[in-house]
């Protein structure tokens, strides 16, 4: 009944965390790591290789996503990335003004009238 022993040692560890201090963080994380080992050796050791791969993949996912996103706060917003109100600019520095339709030409006067029949513009 190893389960019983490890469970009681975990509980004892948690009770010993009653006195606060700066080293409590390290102790707490160590205690939680030990419980993780408990869940693992109870679950994963007795499973087949495929299930173990899934469990390992979950752990890898956590590590990867933590590693990638941990510098989230160090980044500034990219201008124009999410069509937000902060800048009217896309990544190439264009604004809505760059996409406005070209100004219509002034209508031609009769004096300048050409004999050509105006060609209808295809839609």
């Amino acid at each position: 009944m190893l389960i019983l022993m490890t469970a009681t040692t975990e509980i004892a560890l948690h009770l010993s965390l009653g006195t606060l201090g700066n080293n409590i963080v390290a102790m707490a994380i160590a205690a939680t790591k030990a419980v993780l080992v408990l869940a693992i050796f109870m679950g994963v050791l007795y499973t087949n290789k495929l299930a173990r791969m899934f469990a390992f993949a979950g752990f890898c996912w956590l590590t990867i996503i933590f590693g990638i996103l941990i510098d989230y706060r160090a980044k500034q917003p990219i201008p124009g990335f999410m069509h937000d109100q902060s800048s009217g600019m896309n990544l190439s520095g264009q604004t809505m003004a760059d996409f406005a339709p070209p100004k219509a030409n002034p209508p031609e006067t009769q004096a300048k009238g050409s004999t050509d029949v105006p060609v209808p513009v295809s839609p």
Binding site: V25, A51, W61
Partner: protein
């Protein structure tokens, strides 16, 4: 639910499957058990992803608002958290023993242990509800009525408490779901339903889920209750 529907067949027990617990698409019982456990682990990986994102958010915001998080954690009653931790650990233990006796095919010993696990779950949920009501009464629920605790900024402490309610609330929902599933499992064992007596794997899958729920709380407790100066 995944546990019951995995065995659902048109004909009723006990002669619901002429090969015993082995279903016809599997070559032997070991392969069937392996596939069930693998599927359960695949689900647990999704749960890891579910909680992992929130833990990441916690890490990021705590590193930026360390003082507010410390002040917020002073508002948590460590005694409640420690009691919950102890109770969840014991319920994990009783669950593991239940799985053990299910493997040994001793149907008499399984329901009492499952009942112990259920008691742990109910105790946890009651204590959590009490804590939530306390926090809501003292204006610590993020929203229009939020009043930051002494010495904390509005922004940082609201972040702390919204993370607290979000993560422990999500965990509490998982505990509640586990409570329902374990009570169904206990009912099936009491009725000696062949779904659970023939093969121990459904019990083991529920055990895996419950251990995962316990593991998440093991990480949640020091993060919210035991923040040092």
């Amino acid at each position: 639910m995944t546990v019951e529907s995995a065995h659902a067949t048109p004909v009723n027990a006990p002669e619901h499957n002429p090969h015993g617990p082995l279903h016809h698409q599997y070559e032997d019982i070991e392969q069937q058990n392996d596939s069930y456990v693998t599927g359960m682990w695949a689900f647990l990986v999704t749960e890891i992803m579910f909680f992992g994102g929130l833990f990441l958010a916690y890490t990021l915001f705590r590193s930026h608002y360390q003082n507010d998080f410390y002040i917020g954690s002073q508002d948590m009653e460590v005694a409640f958290g420690a009691a919950n931790t102890y109770v969840l650990l014991s319920s994990s233990l009783s669950m593991a023993l239940a799985v053990h006796f299910a493997q040994l095919k001793q149907p008499k010993k399984v329901p009492p242990l499952l009942f112990l696990t259920l008691c742990g779950a109910v105790f946890f949920l009651l204590v959590k509800t009490h804590e939530y009501l306390n926090h809501i009464a003292s204006h610590h629920f993020p929203g229009a009525a939020f009043i930051p605790p002494e010495g904390a900024t509005m922004h940082g402490s609201q972040l702390y408490f919204s993370l607290y309610f979000m993560m422990t609330g999500l965990h509490g929902i998982h505990v509640f779901i586990g409570l329902i599933v374990i009570s169904i499992l206990m009912y099936l064992w009491i009725k000696r339903n062949p779904i659970v007596t023939e093969d121990y794997v459904p019990t083991e899958m529920v055990g895996l889920y419950w251990h995962f729920v316990d593991l998440v709380w093991i990480f949640l407790f020091p993060l919210f209750y035991l923040i040092p100066k």
